[in-house]
């Protein structure tokens, strides 16, 4: 179990992908996360996993399946139901030199530990003047699932991304999940890793490069999932899938949309976003979270500050409804952005004939 520690503090930039013709392999996001955890734990004996149900139960969402058997109870810890407790313990372990991966059953429960995430993890390196570094990863499902109600559905990207000292990542595909989780574990700073429950079961094609155990994505770089020239659509996590579907529909109507998968909420890849807007001159931001003070608001400001002259239309912001998530299926559907909302927003940005009053 103790193998040579491979220090990969600098991740190679895998921005441009070499297409492997033989890449027919598919992998679910769940498998991607599991394999990433497995490989990182195997490579570095200081990495350990902690959270509710991560061990014997194989993970509340089976992300840590098989890890307890493989690494034993000292490296896969089932914790009592005390988020504040195990977040604090993780931070303390990181202070001393281990590399914990702390799992929250959902990020909604991270609010019970948020003091430790912000005051103990995010600010420690700064407050101690570099004496205490906190190489910790807080991960778990974020945002809405299906029919789980208000206290299980909030998106925390904006909250954590507003805090200096943290890095906030939001993967979409299996490639994202693998590469970003590995990068997060290797990173010396505290990372908040926002997954999505509904994406866990989704399959994505992965190339041999992605499957390699040294694969790693750079933190702070967005990915252009689909190139286009008429309108830029930014999204993260599950909304990337919706944005891609919207782009398909728009293509049929003659609008070529460029879809950017943010991947990293903090640091935000302003360069890529602005370059894209300078090309298309129109922007639609999509997120699942609440609109006020959200990720879209930050992207909009960034574009207004840096590329104002290039905008041909006001920035369209698609976000979740400004209400705690309702439970009834019909209400829930209306509280979360849908593909049609993105399509309509893109068209509005392109001045098509969809009057504002007609939008839901």
């Amino acid at each position: 179990m103790l193998r040579a520690i491979r220090h990969k503090s600098i991740c190679p930039a895998f921005g441009a992908f070499r297409a492997f013709a033989s890449a027919a392999k598919e992998m679910t996001v769940r498998e991607a996360l599991n394999s990433a955890l497995d490989e990182e734990m195997s490579a570095d004996p200081k990495v350990f996993l902690m959270g509710e149900e991560v061990g014997e139960y194989q993970g509340a969402y089976k992300i840590s399946k098989g890890l307890l058997d493989k690494y034993g109870p000292e490296r896969v810890l089932d914790t009592p139901i005390t988020e504040a407790g195990f977040a604090g313990i993780g931070v303390g372990a990181a202070y001393y030199g281990l590399r914990p991966v702390v799992e929250f059953m959902t990020f909604n429960f991270s609010m019970q530990a948020i003091d430790h995430i912000i005051n103990s993890a995010a600010k420690s390196n700064y407050m101690s003047a570099g004496q205490i570094s906190v190489p910790i990863v807080f991960r778990g499902p974020n945002g809405a699932a299906a029919g789980v109600g208000a206290q299980h559905s909030q998106c925390y990207a904006a909250w954590y991304a507003s805090c200096p000292g943290l890095k906030v990542l939001a993967p979409y595909s299996s490639e994202d999940a693998r590469g970003l989780l590995k990068a997060a574990i290797r990173d010396p700073d505290p990372v908040v890793f926002l997954e999505n429950e509904l994406l866990y079961g989704e399959s994505f094609p992965v190339s041999a490069e992605v499957l390699d155990s040294s694969f790693c994505l750079p933190i702070g770089k967005a990915k252009i999932e689909r190139e286009g020239k008429d309108v830029t659509i930014t999204a993260y996590s599950k909304m990337v899938g919706y944005a891609l579907k919207a782009a398909e529909i728009l293509a049929k109507e003659g609008v070529s949309a460029e879809v950017i998968n943010l991947r990293s909420i903090r640091p935000l890849d302003r360069t890529t976003i602005n370059a894209s807007v300078r090309k298309t001159n129109r922007l639609v931001t999509v997120e699942e979270g609440f609109p006020q003070h959200g990720v879209g608001a930050e992207i909009c400001t960034s574009v207004v500050e840096e590329s104002f002259g290039y905008l041909d239309a006001p920035v369209e912001r698609i976000a979740g409804a400004d209400v705690p998530m309702p439970y009834a299926a019909n209400l829930e559907r209306m509280a979360v952005p849908q593909v049609e909302d993105i399509v309509r927003a893109a068209k509005r940005a392109c001045h098509r004939s969809v009057p504002l009053a007609a939008t839901a």
């Binding site: 914790t79 005390t82 313990i89 303390g92 103990s120």
Partner: protein, 480 residues
């Protein structure tokens, strides 16, 4: 409060069997002997061995009802009072049952006794049982207690003069600070609350370093990032003080866990006050420490006050020591103003924690002589003569002094020399610190992350441009 304290009589009722004393810390039964007559207040194997292994810890979950159950010595859990050896099986273990419905009282008749070695005059008590210390150790302990006392009074004044923005003293708690530090090794990691600068002093943090942090100048190890008294030093294994209360408790468990995984012969030691035990993190920390078998020592400085909240309004339990047992942790109550008692308890706790890989809770009873901080005036909520009483008659420094003097290890001459030398050093250090430069502008942006990210580089660049353009708006003593 004082009336309900059952003062320990210097007599044989307090059994000081070497094997039993510190290790049977909790008297949850009306008597302190090993066999209890109350069916509810049972302790497993309350017998002779000092380090008692709790059977339960070696049994994996969900396996109680299987073969291992046969190994359980059931008679320890049952007395003659209970129905003939009948037990019921539940998750968590077997319990004897009883047909009598009896609630455990919220408080026991007699409070948990307090371990003490020296009396108020610094005389070792009859039958006292403690870890011996050498002359060098005793002299260093005493000198550091005096230094801490002097530091506190001078820095407090410096704040009052407006030269630093804030300060808080550890007056009255010098024994807890220094004696606990003395009983530990330099490898033990310390996670303090904020009233334990004495531990750092013991480990060699210089007076100049203390003062530099208070003034937040360029020599400050903390690069001027934090308020005064938020000391921290990697070299001394003393984690930077953080203001939120009790957050260091679960962190200490994590650090202890890391030490255990590393196989180090060291433990984590963390401090909090009586107020800190009300925080959720206290519960989380103790519970986890027990479940994870973490080698951590929790030292609770029960000094009677949490700003203006007295302990009667903080909790209704018999202080903090009884809470340890609730979590399955070895606990002891100690006279925090008795340096030898604190030393012995911490020394022993450390052995337990490291050898047995388990947590220990020490409740050190003491009194906060000073105000909570320079932002507080405690005469507004407590009587001045109470403060005076504790300051003069129950002073831990004087008490230890009498013992050291009686051993022929300290004289009045040493005393005056020490006090004037420390004063002089402090004054000099303050002068140097006050005149020193403040941290440079680059220290505004670094350490947010491991490496300076591009957005902060950008911000720094812009800031420097602005400072260059408008030098008249920026103070001249801040280097760029």
């Amino acid at each position: 409060m004082a009336s309900s304290w059952s003062l320990i009589k210097r007599s044989r009722t307090l059994i000081h069997h070497k094997k039993k004393l510190a290790f049977l810390g909790i008297g949850s039964a009306p008597t302190f002997s090993s066999s209890s007559s109350s069916p509810f207040m049972k302790r497993p194997c309350a017998a002779s061995a000092p380090y008692i292994n709790n059977h339960f810890r070696f049994l994996r979950r969900f396996e109680f009802t299987k073969a291992e159950a046969a190994q359980l010595e059931l008679q320890h859990y049952v007395t003659d009072d209970d129905d003939n050896n009948q037990v019921i099986d539940f998750p968590g273990g077997k319990v004897a049952f009883t047909s009598e419905m009896r609630f455990i009282s919220e408080s026991i008749q007699k409070r948990v006794p307090c371990y003490r070695v020296l009396d108020d005059n610094g005389m070792p008590m009859k039958y006292s049982n403690y870890v011996q210390i050498s002359k060098e150790m005793a002299v260093k302990m005493y000198s550091d207690m005096v230094t801490l006392q002097t530091m506190d009074s001078i820095f407090y004044e410096v704040q009052r003069q407006g030269r630093i923005s804030f300060y808080l003293t550890s007056m009255g708690e010098e024994a807890v600070n220094i004696a606990s530090a003395a009983a530990l090794s330099f490898d033990d990691v310390i996670l303090p609350q904020y009233r334990e600068p004495g531990v750092l002093l013991w480990r060699g943090f210089t007076l100049q370093q203390f003062v530099d942090q208070l003034f937040g100048n360029t020599s400050d190890l903390g690069k001027g990032r934090q308020m005064p008294i938020h000391y921290g030093s990697n070299k001394h294994n003393y984690f930077t003080v953080s203001s939120p209360i009790a957050t260091q408790l679960p962190q200490a468990v994590g650090a202890a866990y890391s030490l255990k995984i590393d196989g180090k012969s060291a433990c984590a030691v963390t401090y909090c006050g009586d107020g800190g035990t009300s925080e959720g993190d206290f519960h989380a920390g103790l519970n986890f420490a027990a479940v994870m078998d973490a080698p951590v020592i929790f030292i609770c400085r029960n000094n009677g006050w949490a700003i203006s909240t007295p302990v009667e309004e903080q909790f209704r339990s018999d202080g903090v020591v009884v809470k340890g047992q609730a979590y399955g942790i070895w606990s002891i109550r100690v006279d925090g103003n008795d340096a030898l008692a604190v030393y012995s308890a911490v020394h022993t706790a450390r052995e337990i924690a490291i050898k047995e890989k388990r947590p220990v809770l020490i409740e050190a009873l003491t009194y906060r002589v000073g105000h909570h901080s320079t932002s507080d005036d405690s005469t507004k909520y407590r009587p001045i003569d109470e403060i005076e009483y504790w300051k003069m008659e129950r002073n831990p420094v004087n008490r230890f002094k009498r013992w050291v003097e009686r051993n022929g290890w300290w004289s009045d001459h040493n005393e005056s020399e020490l006090r004037s030398s420390v004063r002089k050093q402090l004054m000099q250090a303050i002068q140097v610190a006050e005149k020193a430069q403040k941290p440079p502008l680059s220290d505004l942006f670094n350490d947010v992350y491991d490496r300076l990210p591009s957005n902060l580089e950008e911000q720094e660049r812009l800031l420097r441009e602005i400072v260059k353009k408008h030098p008249e708006d920026y103070p001249s003593d801040v280097p760029l």
